[in-house]
């Protein structure tokens, strides 16, 4: 209590006269085709991007990829996608998720300006599922893609628990600024962008 009061007193003493909050209106960017832009930027930030007309097609495309073929332990939080071999809900301890080869994650929305996907873990059996697996695949609905971060925060009403903007696989450039993909989290990220196309084009890249 004493420290709290002292800090707040010191802050009140030091803070300048009130100036207005400027608001956040009038900022932002608009793209002629935000979904196409999202698909481009997703690749720029280090993920692979697969466009598919529906979940079933996304599932089929995923199963053709080396990241899926080489995976033994696969978990999926998106019903119908990924061909899960493992149920993360069956383990009580998230530590046991180490060694999970691939996890398919649902995203609430995608952001065109930066390729980020908003992932809310509230219905996940374990929070660690977005970061502990060796590889992740993220399902983003094309109709959930917004233009920019301002639009994203307009839509997001995050009340409790954990969520994140996932902007690609884990990466670092701490050694001589050489970009290395796969620091502590996923070694790769595959974005399954569902809807807004007639068929599944070749996987990029």
């Amino acid at each position: 209590m004493a420290s709290r009061d002292e800090v707040l007193r010191a802050v009140r003493r030091g803070q300048p006269a009130l100036v207005e909050h400027p608001g956040t209106a009038g900022l932002g960017v608009r793209f002629p085709d935000p979904v196409a832009r999202f698909a481009e930027v997703v690749v720029e930030v280090g993920s692979a991007c697969v466009r598919a007309p529906d979940l079933a097609a996304a599932d089929r495309a995923l199963r053709l990829l080396p990241v899926h073929r080489d995976a033994r332990r696969i978990a999926s939080l998106v019903p119908g996608v990924g061909g899960a071999t493992f149920d993360p809900g069956a383990v009580a301890d998230p530590h046991q998720l180490d060694g999970l080869d691939l996890c398919i994650l649902p995203a609430e929305l995608g952001v065109a300006e930066n390729g980020a996907a908003w992932i809310d873990v509230r219905n996940f059996p374990h929070q660690a599922l977005f970061v502990i697996p060796e590889h992740v695949a993220v399902v983003v609905r094309a109709d959930s893609v917004v233009h920019d971060m301002h639009q994203a925060y307009e839509r997001l009403r995050h009340a409790k628990g954990f969520a994140l903007f996932l902007g690609g696989p884990s990466k670092t450039a701490d050694i001589e600024q050489a970009l290395v993909i796969g620091a502590h989290g996923a070694r790769s990220c595959t974005v399954l962008l569902v809807g807004g196309v007639e068929s599944t084009p070749g996987v990029r890249p």
């Binding site: 803070q15 100036v19 050694i175």
Partner: protein, 455 residues
């Protein structure tokens, strides 16, 4: 040793100094590409500046609002007046729970408080998990850059370090392979740690949530496995509303490394299921800086590191040439507030080029603040005696046109007739590597008078 002396040593290894300079410049160029890709970039900067100015003008109110909402979400909020209290609180939380190993993601605040040695002295192992931080930790060094802690080390040196400490093969210097070795080593620690400590990039008053940003995912590994999450934040990290995050997040990763977004922009709202979350709000001199009108804008800093990368002096002198933990322009405006005498050389470790102010995402007037600190240094009598006298003398001479003209003629005459070694000695630092300017027989005003007569 002040900055100038340390920097002179750094510059002596010309090849290495150029290598370090190139490294920083490369990151600056990445930042430029990021900025140029955002059409409303300059508007964003202005808005971010204004949001921070508003936040600082209602800081107490927002801190209370944040505390109330964070508590409602199930987090426990602690307050620390200074570094010592911060360390005691954190240690207390760990010791009560029998924590023997804690994993820590990047937090300059915990560096400032000296948390690692404090915990280690009390039998708790701390593993820094950001790769750059882990490298300098294994090397028993502080970070030399706030975003790229090991920017001063070459891959071969990191390889040699990992060979000694992690058992990687001798001579291995490939960044990918070295990162893999660190991944394996730290994953073991993530899995066995009993607590995770993070910093806080932004604390949102409206929601009681905190945002932690990494590219590596280390903050997330450290908080989704151990049952205890301790988040250390400076009082200046609180921002009013969730919508404000859009402004700062559009600026942060682009300013730091030129990425449109970091890989993990994590939003914590209370503890996770079955876990505990504690937030430690730290003052440690920030409220005092808040009260200093000319310098409070430095509290807006979002720790992007852009000012370091653009600073031609930082790039050519390295983080260890500065007398404080945080180097570069932002460090040089924060440090003097803590101890002006100890850090009196820092405001002068700058040519006042102003590049820092133009890259700062929140438009802190860094180069003007450096100048303002120089005034404080002079006012408190901390300038070297010779400099003080020279300025006083020069001011006197320049107050009288006839005296100025006389001094000018005498100086030019001396420059024309005195032997080089004498001139070299008289002109001190200038002549070590440079020729003096030419000493014309007539000054401009003398030529003007001759050709134009008296006006």
């Amino acid at each position: 040793m002040g900055h100038a002396e340390s920097a002179a040593l750094f510059v002596r290894d010309g090849a290495r100094a150029h290598w370090h300079d190139q490294a920083g410049w490369w990151v600056r160029q990445r930042r430029d590409a990021g900025a140029k890709a955002v059409p409303d970039w300059e508007d964003l900067r202005e808005r971010a500046e204004a949001i921070k100015a508003h936040a600082l003008s209602n800081l107490a109110g927002y801190l209370e609002e944040f505390e109330a909402n964070a508590t409602r979400l199930g987090a426990v909020v602690h307050w620390a007046r200074d570094a010592e209290e911060h360390n005691r609180i954190v240690h207390g939380l760990l010791a009560e729970r029998g924590v023997k190993l804690v994993v820590k993601s990047k937090s300059m605040l915990t560096e400032e408080c000296g948390l690692n040695p404090y915990l280690e002295a009390r039998g708790i192992e701390v593993a820094d998990t950001d790769l750059g931080e882990r490298i300098v930790q294994l090397n028993h060094q502080p970070p030399s850059h706030i975003v790229i802690p090991a920017i001063h080390m070459k891959r071969e040196e990191i390889g040699e370090l990992f060979h000694r400490t992690l058992g990687t093969p001798a001579g291995l210097a490939d960044p990918q392979a070295l990162t893999e070795a660190a991944r394996q080593d730290l994953r073991r620690r993530f899995l066995s740690a009993q607590a995770g400590i993070t910093g806080v990039n932004f604390a949102v008053a409206e929601t009681g949530g905190i945002v932690v940003v990494t590219n590596e995912g280390n903050a997330d590994m450290g908080t989704s496995l151990p049952p205890l999450h301790v988040a250390s934040m400076g009082i200046e990290k609180v921002i009013p509303r969730a919508k404000d995050l859009a402004v700062f997040l559009r600026l942060l990763a682009r300013s730091a490394v030129g990425q449109p977004i970091s890989s993990y922009t994590s939003h914590f709202h209370g503890p996770r299921k079955g876990g505990e979350m504690h937030v430690v709000i730290v003052d440690n001199g920030r409220s005092s800086l808040l009260g200093q009108g000319g310098f409070r804008r430095a509290l807006a800093c979002i720790r992007c590191g852009a000012c370091l990368n653009t600073c031609p002096v930082y790039r050519r002198s390295g983080g260890y040439s500065y007398t404080w933990l945080i180097p570069g322009p932002i460090g040089s405006v924060l440090a003097p507030a803590r101890d002006l005498a100890a850090h009196a050389s820092l405001p002068f470790a700058s040519s006042l080029c102003g590049s820092c102010s133009d890259v700062c995402p929140v438009r802190i007037d860094l180069h003007h603040q450096l100048l303002a600190w120089r005034r404080e240094v002079a006012a408190r009598g901390l300038l070297p005696a010779g400099k003080r006298t020279a300025m006083r003398l020069a001011s006197l001479v320049l107050r009288y046109a006839w005296l100025y003209r006389l001094a000018g003629r005498a100086a030019r005459l001396a420059m024309r007739v005195l032997p080089r070694p004498v001139l070299g000695w008289l002109s001190g630092g200038w002549s070590r590597q440079r020729e003096l300017p030419p000493a014309p027989e007539a000054s401009f005003r003398e030529l003007y008078r001759r050709t134009r007569g008296q006006p």
